[in-house]
Symmetry: C2
Subunit: 191 residues, 2 copies
DNA sequence: CCCTCGGTATACTGATCTGTGAAGTCCAGA
DNA sequence: TCTGGACTTCACAGATCAGTATACCGAGGG
């Protein structure tokens, strides 16, 4: 499914520059000339590697998704307690927020790319679905009741904390507390 | 504070077209030429009325904010039960979503306007702060414990439901249920 | 009558956008 | 030594961007 494309050294530099610029300044506002210049590469090389701006954008989102999932997985695996593991993505989010202060890259991308056939939509939808399913699996493993509903609620909390991030309202602590309360309540209900 | 500017008939048509186009297609992706054409007005008139694209964008967000607050206030006022009134904004959101399927216009705008000095940031931040404070007031009126924390959690739930809207995961029902559970629990804790 | 005001119509500036063409450079491996 | 591929350099096309200039029109009011 997810084809791991091999990029050249120049291609990787382009991707790194694209990640930073697209996230910080917005996709439409950043031109390919700037990405090329910032990565020390010619526009010709950029187009030889990625074909079009749309494909570069898709690669940028895919790469960011890959990094985010890796962080979440690592944080989950570090949890000895299976109950605590259910809220591990919120801990990962706290770590992730140290460098990303402009909200969710995927939500932001959808805001700029209204065409539902754009591959970016698939990437974004798959990421959120993946997180919801992960919540569900972790909740099931921890013996929670109604893991499907709990997973949806945790996903909404997660996205809410991410969406309010650029507003500097410091919502993450209260959100994490609530997530933990929900998980404990769902676990207690089994006994 | 919020100066109610009077627009001419042409200016109002421009604002209506801007609302639809900016929200549906994104701010950067929509040019002033298109807004002028869609509203049946010349670019000269557009600039005479709004001065610049940035100011038109700010007016668009301000107008949308005004309409959203009016809907929320009306929905809250329709609630006889003060406890039920705390979750009224979620009911308003359901109504609002019937026409707006592309997430929060303000979050989307911030994604495209990274400059924190842009007036759009002030509009967006004030809107979310207003909603949080409204939650807090309603929770206090309903006799809930710790209305400040509850308000933040309800805001996060609200924004989470809004942010996941374009992903077609149907998160609003489970979110509204959870909001209602939280409010009831906070009210019961007083007795 | 004339004059201002809000609007129309149209053409324009200069910058920037995505994407391509053509020729030349560099280097690893057969 | 030759070859092929990745990369650079530079010029360019064609479109679109925000914003401006100039001239015109019709209605309302002194």
């Amino acid at each position: 499914m997810s084809e791991v494309r091999q990029f050249s050294a120049a291609g990787r530099r382009v991707l790194a520059a694209a990640e930073e610029l697209f996230y910080e300044r917005g996709i439409t506002a950043v031109g390919v000339d700037l990405v090329a210049e910032r990565s020390g590469v010619t526009k010709r090389t950029l187009y030889n590697q990625f074909g079009s701006k749309d494909q570069l954008v898709t690669a940028y989102l895919g790469e960011r998704d890959r990094r985010w999932r890796a962080l979440v997985r690592a944080t989950v695996d570090d949890c000895a307690d299976p109950l605590h593991a259910v809220t591990a993505p919120f801990e990962a989010l706290r770590e992730w927020s140290r460098t990303s202060g402009r909200g969710c890259a995927f939500v932001n991308a959808l805001a700029e790319l209204p065409d539902p056939d754009h591959p970016a939509h698939r990437v974004a939808t798959e990421q959120k679905r993946w997180l919801r399913d992960l919540f569900s699996e972790l909740a099931t493993a921890a013996g929670c009741t109604d893991p499907a509903t709990l997973a949806t609620q945790l996903l909404v909390l997660h996205e809410g904390a991410l969406a309010t991030q650029p507003l500097a309202l410091d919502t993450l602590p209260a959100t994490t507390d609530l997530a933990w309360t929900l998980v404990r309540a769902a676990a207690d209900a089994t006994g």
